[in-house]
Symmetry: C2
Subunit: 253 residues, 2 copies
Amino acid sequence: MGTTQLEPVSEPKYWHLRTVLSEALDSEFTVGEILPNERDLAARFGVARATLRQALEQLELEGRLQRRRGVGTTVAPPRVGVAVGTEQHAWPGAADDAWQPVDSTLLIPPAAVADALETGRDEAVHTVRRSRMSHGQPVGAELLYIPRSSVPDLSAIDAPSGAARARAVLRELQRRELDGQDNAVELGSARADDAKELDRLPGAPVLVVTTRFLSEGATAALSVATYRADTCRLTFGASGGVEIHHGPERRAS
Amino acid sequence: MGTTQLEPVSEPKYWHLRTVLSEALDSEFTVGEILPNERDLAARFGVARATLRQALEQLELEGRLQRRRGVGTTVAPPRVGVAVGTEQHAWPGAADDAWQPVDSTLLIPPAAVADALETGRDEAVHTVRRSRMSHGQPVGAELLYIPRSSVPDLSAIDAPSGAARARAVLRELQRRELDGQDNAVELGSARADDAKELDRLPGAPVLVVTTRFLSEGATAALSVATYRADTCRLTFGASGGVEIHHGPERRAS
């Protein structure tokens, strides 16, 4: 027949297909290779197109496949490990900071942010937009909120906005001593501005890392950073995190 | 007209609708409330059902909505903060361990795990399956891989499997000194066994935390833990992590 028939199982059909497809990716395909089209794949595995699509979506969620308009579905390279541990995610603006300042302005933050900063709800704070690259690809987009009380000597900034203003704010922030930080990670979807920086469509799955920077017993800055969930693995810990790749083909790249 | 017409914008329609819906959730709905059905919602916002569904999927991804079969779409409570920082995610089996042992067996791990453990690819290792609850709900499912060299004195176990065997393996592991650990977090989909423990369907989005436990210069154990991405926010850091909730309605619960 030339088809790979699936045996009947109790688990959902799309899930079984995902497992079979995952094994096929390991054994038959290499990173970057374009998969056959949906019709041919559905025929090969003897499943409906809808079932096939569900299985492909699963594998995309797991970072095994990439779907790109005009290209098709390709086998994804292993995810990039991005260090967000306490040592690497240093005091914003420090010498070893992995983030690049992009823009800065003074605005009234969302109520939830104002509450976390313990500023008043109608009090403007400095915002700094930054981006982070890895292997030449954008991996993270960040919005940093800095209460005016954290940078009290920032009286006259030459630049009203842009990277120059961002650098001036961070330079002032660096005068303070960082006492500690804590991070929270959750699943989210990319907002329009973050999506643009990450080279994705709005709503793409992202890992949202919220970091509170503590100084002199108060929250001196709050960072909301979004990382591409399809291409990034966030690592915490001094040694940069463990790597577990799927199958030999993925490890080979 | 009784409808809330969307103004034309350059961002994708589903994304604009998501923002409008998000604001409506804050101002008009409370946690646990059931949303009107899709037809009524699509009519109210003057959009196609497909657009509405995309926007609802976004909000589900962000943890704002829950879709439950037989119930409909409800407004989700704020995500539960689950501590996975170095202090809380302690040496497995320690007195303050948040995980409950469920089962244990000896098996040959996936090749990628064997490589990370630096055991041979056809060498059996101890596995311990554990679960984690928070507020009476399952939040995490873990598979712990322990090379036999980490528990050399585990010669005769009375129980061939089950929680009793798991506890015996962990008791032996506790004889070793934990030198350090590192974590990696990435997006994944729940495998069938994890999904069952998490009370989800296979393929549901999960946050996968891989932890390597180091002892005497080697990887003494490897943990692959999956957390429900819809209900959990993972916190790293001593103080348990920052909390940022959406809008006043969500904070009120």
